[in-house]
């Protein structure tokens, strides 16, 4: 279990936007994972999707770390953010754009889509 926690910590540290979901970016295997991929595509920042569909121990570790039972799980800047239920209202009121700007500030990465 400790190894899995380390693995997860490494992944969220390495990816400013990280989605744990079912399936991959190219082949999502769950409607909510697809929705989350489309959601982040619309922001134009790079993001990574880690497929944990078949990895029950890792799903268990993730659920324990976040107190969140469902997939997908989104991390931004190392912070657990829930899923699009949480992020969609933040996108609407501008909080998410601000958070993403802050997260990517100084990284040399700029969005491929202008948000404002």
């Amino acid at each position: 279990m400790a190894d899995l926690h380390d693995e997860i910590q490494r992944e969220i540290a390495a990816n400013p936007i990280l989605v744990y979901g079912k399936g991959t970016k190219d082949a999502p295997r769950c409607g909510f994972t697809l929705e989350t991929i489309q959601f982040f595509n619309s922001f134009g920042y790079p993001f990574e999707v880690v497929d944990v569909l078949e990895n029950m121990p890792k799903r268990q570790a993730l659920s324990e770390m976040t107190d969140w039972q469902t997939l997908p799980k989104v991390f931004i800047g190392g912070q657990f953010m829930g899923d699009t239920d949480i992020l969609a209202p933040m996108a609407q009121n501008g909080e998410l754009a601000t958070l993403l700007e802050k997260t990517f500030a100084g990284s040399g990465v700029s969005p491929t889509i202008q948000l404002r």
């Binding site: 409607g31 969140w68 239920d85």
Partner: protein, 94 residues
């Protein structure tokens, strides 16, 4: 019907909104609950919950409260896919 002794088959899809409302009111008695069938197949639901229990609670924790309340229906498969929106009585309908 009374006294026939025949078992009545109930389609759980027909009562899922009642189930969801009852489960939420166990921990949030004042909850006003709206259940939406997003796909027409009753397997992709959206629930809107309005309760004063959400006052001062972060969106993540509101979500956790709803999931915790609905855990029994999750566990037995009555709820498969669920989107959650929340508000306090003072907040606009999200």
């Amino acid at each position: 019907m009374a006294g026939t002794g025949a078992a009545r088959v109930v389609n759980p899809a027909l009562v899922i909104d009642t189930v969801i409302t009852a489960l939420l009111r166990e921990t949030m008695p004042d909850a006003a609950v709206e259940v939406y069938d997003l796909t027409g197949t009753m397997d992709h639901l959206e629930v809107f919950v309005r309760t004063k229990a959400f006052a001062g609670v972060s969106p993540l924790d509101r979500h956790r409260m709803v999931e915790r309340a609905l855990a029994p229906a999750r566990a037995d498969g009555r709820i498969h896919a669920l989107q959650i929106r929340t508000a306090t009585p003072e907040e606009p309908h999200g």
